[in-house]
Symmetry: D2
């Protein structure tokens, strides 16, 4: 199953870029917990700088929308890679640099209380150019904190 190996290698590399080479992802402190064709999970740990309230220890809404957006984009791009299979590294890099979010909706469902949070999601539509992804953020008690829907241009 060399082809599958290649795909997983590529996904791993994508995960590394996501975690380590994108400055805002480092500032947030996200970690890719899992990145396989069928399951993408991103974790963010609560810490002082991410608090969005002057009175309570809750995650800022902007952190929540950022994590849902970047997780949705990762899912959309991983879907493309899975669909296209192995490709030369420089083509992968070019496509990744070109990918972008077109629009996003976030629903804030519960206050962001917890010591860590997990973002995951699934593809609703994979088109030629446009991919739609639904995402969710849960806390360390597995309570649903927020839900998102993002439309991504992946070409």
């Amino acid at each position: 199953m060399e082809n599958t190996m290649d795909l997983q290698d590529m996904l791993n590399m994508l995960g590394q870029i996501y975690e380590k080479q994108m400055p805002f992802h480092r500032l947030l402190g996200i970690r890719i917990v899992n990145l396989t064709p069928d399951d993408v999970r991103v974790r963010i740990d609560m810490r002082e700088e991410l608090i969005g309230n002057f009175a309570r220890r809750i995650l800022h809404g902007g952190v929540i929308s950022a994590v849902l957006d970047l997780t949705g984009g990762l899912i959309a791009f991983a879907e493309l890679m899975t669909h296209l299979g192995a490709m030369p590294l420089d083509e992968l890099t070019k496509r990744f640099a070109r990918a972008s979010t077109i629009d996003m909706r976030v629903d804030y469902l519960r206050r962001g209380e917890g010591e860590y949070f997990i973002a995951s999601g699934s593809v609703l539509r994979r088109g030629n150019k446009v991919t739609v992804v639904r995402t969710e953020l849960t806390n360390d008690k597995n309570l649903l904190i927020a839900a998102g829907t993002g439309t991504y241009l992946i070409i």
Copy 2:
């Protein structure tokens, strides 16, 4: 016009809390450029940590959605204060801690290139409980980078 004075004093205090007492706002480095009943403007300067691409110097989509969300919330709360007029400080504080975003849509219109960005907006609906705000982010060349619509629970 003592009443107007009081309102502007309260808005100034709100601006101080927004800039200095909310940890994630400090991490982003936002500044309240103007906060009067009819005009709210929030500025964020580009810097290395806010970049969302490994190849290009553009603002991360998550920074954009965070700034639009916090600006919309500020506009919604300033509208409430303007409408209610002067109130005791502890009531103001309680209401502010209770305010929250219900949902938000962001449209990413252009790549986030620029040395600084300005977020502004206007109230579409001010209800008893729910306030809807349209927001926009422009860059230092006054190009529209993103547009948002947020629904806020302000009670």
Copy 3:
């Protein structure tokens, strides 16, 4: 289990109002296929007047968003009734006339081909005033045609 009976009677009455007393619902030709506390399903049959294309027999996007909106509202109101339990008829009627959609997002995922369509959904958030519902429309082959998220004011 008289209480449960009352609730189901009330839900049945709500379903009758929805189908028969709201003029636009009659114009669309929706039918309440199921309306129990845990499962709400609304059906619409394809017919000539609902076509949205001059060349192809597909459901108009406006029909899709209308059906998702009205299904989400029905789910939100049924949730309230289930939560509050039996109430006097005139209070039910008043609350129902007051209920309204605050905002909605619809994602159109596939062309609306099919002889009939089923809308269903589930509550994401039930607050004191604001209820958020995710909805889906599938066709007669159980393919997902569209997905929605609506925020409702139910007081």
Copy 4:
């Protein structure tokens, strides 16, 4: 200015198709009040069948979202035609049949009271494939009833 003439002729033809050849548009009873490159306005008259409430004479939310969706699509397609200039009729027809809404957000701002309503809007983003349009619905007193943002695939 023969070229401009051609464009306006094409827009007029598009308006005719929109009003007369799309069955759901006829069911709603929309009329194209103006369709020029810079100004698109669609009118819908209140009538019994469009009511969304059993107690009050207000426009159904589904009618509102349908009219905003179809107006946004018309604006997106008129923008494409204005940009591309004159094209053979069969190419125009093919492109039009292919155009579709990707997603839409609607904010319901006021109850839909009025004898008639006007939908209009403007392009936020015109890309190679994806066009984003903001729309508004006002009533006969020029009060803002609803606001929308739609993302359209126009290729």
